[in-house]
């Protein structure tokens, strides 16, 4: 009997350590593995492939004695069986820091393939895969790599953006906590492809478990990626450092203020050197692409959105967790069919897609396919593909106010539309909520949003109008 229990942050926060201790106290060996991503079932106990969950420590004796009812085979659960897991192929199955487990599941094959085919062929493979940056901007990864490869400079860097600050996103955290060698392999492939010998993983301080796993995994695999060297750097609670130029300033030991572009980080990035800045999911997709080929990856997806996207279903949802699937699935399928509607049992009133800078969408928009272009056409963004579900008790005027408040708290202060506009936005929404000059203040807010959208240096000020204006557009009754 092999008992597997996740040791990722969600499982631990839900009491997995106590459950594991109860099994061990009963003389049963426990393997701590990555999470399957079915978070409503955590702590999930996996006994020879059969699932039990959510389990508390006092249920352990019944499970051991065969008296507890199971969820059936985990791999056959509809939430898992309907996914296309490329990046999360190992989720729930391997011990995060076991090199043996990683080797046994196609580990290091992508790096070996890259070394065998050479740097330019590696870049060509990534270009052929159609992989686009998973951090939100959706820029073609292969083109970025090609730019850095061609840039002059004897020192180049690979920077992994692991400052996953958007609410409703946790896929980066799950990669780092559950499959850290995959991310290291992806970074090593990038380093080999562009001629960089140093990589930094910039992880937010709110993720202590991810930091610990990455540091341990880097030590264990140093000899395998050499001469490439990877180092973890820890953020300090600034949301804006998820913006790539702000992140570079933070890595250099400066205030995390946004830089004007150009110059592009690909040409003048960390310490002024050519630098690839890629999100965790972008780099984590690379080993699979090298192992199976660019065309195999491009065979998944829709339109210009190729491959799979690890979607994060969160908030007030019955079945929340990590759902990796090819682009093109509709919002309604994700929220209602897979997510099962709200956890509260009340009607779904809206979802926010793409974190605090993403638009609020009503059920009338649930036909939208998850696709960068389709979302952009609907004044929304895919972002890091986090979906927050709200029930009908949500007050959209308060959510619009929070979007402005969050921008004010997290603004780096460099550009005026974001620094001042966000505070003026909070004040204007307060006037609207108080019922003062509502129509005039709504017009003022629309004007302010335009200024922020077109006048801000980065996406923080530039995209904060999305949640604000979408809330007003789709839920006008909450503002009047």
């Amino acid at each position: 009997m092999t008992v597997r229990i996740s040791d990722d942050a969600v499982a631990i926060a839900c009491g997995a350590d106590a459950v594991a201790a109860a099994f061990m106290a009963a003389g049963v060996a426990v393997e701590r593995v990555s999470s399957w991503g079915m978070q409503w079932l955590e702590p999930l106990v996996d006994i020879d492939g059969v699932g039990f969950g959510p389990v508390s420590a006092d249920q352990v004796a019944d499970i051991i004695n065969g008296k507890a009812s199971s969820l059936g085979r985990i791999a056959d659960h509809p939430f898992i069986a309907t996914q296309t897991r490329l990046t999360f192929a190992r989720a729930g199955k391997t011990r995060p820091l076991s090199l043996d487990d990683y080797y046994a599941t196609e580990g290091w094959l992508g790096l070996a393939k890259a070394r065998e085919m050479g740097a330019q062929a590696t870049i060509d493979t990534v270009i052929a895969s159609g992989l686009r940056g998973r951090g939100g901007a959706g820029f073609p990864a292969g083109i970025k790599w090609q730019t850095v490869a061609r840039a002059n400079g004897n020192q180049k860097y690979i920077v992994c953006n692991a400052d996953e600050g958007d609410s409703a996103t946790f896929a980066d955290r799950m990669v780092m906590e559950g499959d850290p060698f995959m991310l290291i392999e992806g970074m090593a492939i990038a380093g080999f492809a562009v001629g960089a010998n140093k990589g930094y993983v910039y992880i937010r301080s709110e993720y202590p478990h991810a930091i610990a796993k990455m540091e341990a995994a880097i030590k264990l695999s140093a000899h395998l990626v050499a001469p490439f060297v990877v180092e973890v750097r820890v953020g300090a609670g600034a949301y804006v450092c998820g913006e790539e130029t702000s992140l570079l300033n933070s890595l250099e030991g400066k205030r995390g203020e946004v830089r004007a572009k150009p110059p592009l980080p690909a040409l003048e990035g960390l310490f002024g050197k050519p630098t690839i800045v890629n999100n965790v999911l972008t780099l984590a997709a690379v080993p699979w692409i090298l192992t199976h080929g660019g065309d195999a990856y491009a065979a998944y997806g829709a339109g210009r959105s190729k491959g799979t996207m690890p979607i994060q279903i969160a908030g007030n949802v019955k079945h929340g967790g990590l759902y990796e699937v090819a682009f093109g699935i509709t919002l309604g399928e994700l929220v209602n069919d897979i997510g099962g509607g709200t956890a509260s049992g009340r009607p779904v009133r809206c979802v926010q897609v793409g974190g605090p800078l993403g638009a609020y969408l009503p059920p009338a928009q649930f036909h939208l396919p998850l696709d960068y272009e389709a979302f952009a056409a609907a004044d929304a963004l895919v972002g890091h593909a986090g979906i927050t579900v709200f029930d009908d008790t949500v007050d959209m005027a308060q959510m619009a106010r929070f979007a402005m408040e969050f921008c004010a708290i997290e603004s780096c202060g460099k550009c005026t539309p974001c620094r001042l506009g966000s505070t003026r936005g909070v004040e204007t929404i307060d006037q609207i909520i108080a019922g003062k000059n509502v129509e005039a203040n709504l017009a003022l807010l629309a004007d302010l949003s335009e200024t922020m959208k077109f006048g801000s240096l980065c996406a923080l000020g530039g995209f904060t109008p999305y949640p604000v204006m979408s809330a007003i557009k789709h839920f006008p009754e909450d503002f009047r």
Binding site: A9, V10, W40, E206, K254, F402
Partner: protein
């Protein structure tokens, strides 16, 4: 590491050493004092204003000691959708624990969530939250 000098010696040769230094200083003392900023500036050949600018920019760094235990409560959208705002009056009704807002712990399908030190808590409701505060 027992002193700022030890921390500086440990990190001085790294690229961009300031954030790792500040993290270690705060871990050792609980905050980053003006004297500490002066010493760091002198060794890294920065101005005091530059070091102060960095310390004051990041939400994690404290310039003054915090005598009370600290709990970080996530108040981002996904935790709001799951009812974190109903816990705020409980936090406000006491003063023994400092309850700080944090924006996202990545536990967005099992909120409301909180963090004390490096320990994370999820699926908080009023009763669990009160118990957690009382146990601190």
């Amino acid at each position: 590491m027992a002193s700022i000098a030890d921390i500086l010696a440990e990190h001085k040769g790294r690229e961009g050493p300031l954030l790792p230094i500040l993290h270690d200083v705060q871990k050792l003392f609980g905050y980053i004092s003006e004297d500490a900023m002066r010493e760091i500036a002198s060794v890294l050949n920065l101005t005091r204003a530059e070091v102060y600018g960095v310390v004051s920019f990041y939400h994690d760094f404290r310039k003054e000691a915090e005598a009370r235990p600290v709990l970080k409560l996530c108040r981002a959208e996904a935790c709001k959708a799951r009812g974190v705002e109903t816990l705020v009056p409980i936090a406000d009704s006491q003063s023994r624990i400092k309850v700080e807002a944090i924006y996202c712990l990545g536990l967005c399908a099992v909120g409301p969530s909180a963090m004390v030190g490096d320990t994370v808590y999820a699926r908080l409701d009023s009763a669990k939250f009160k118990t957690l505060l009382e146990a601190m």
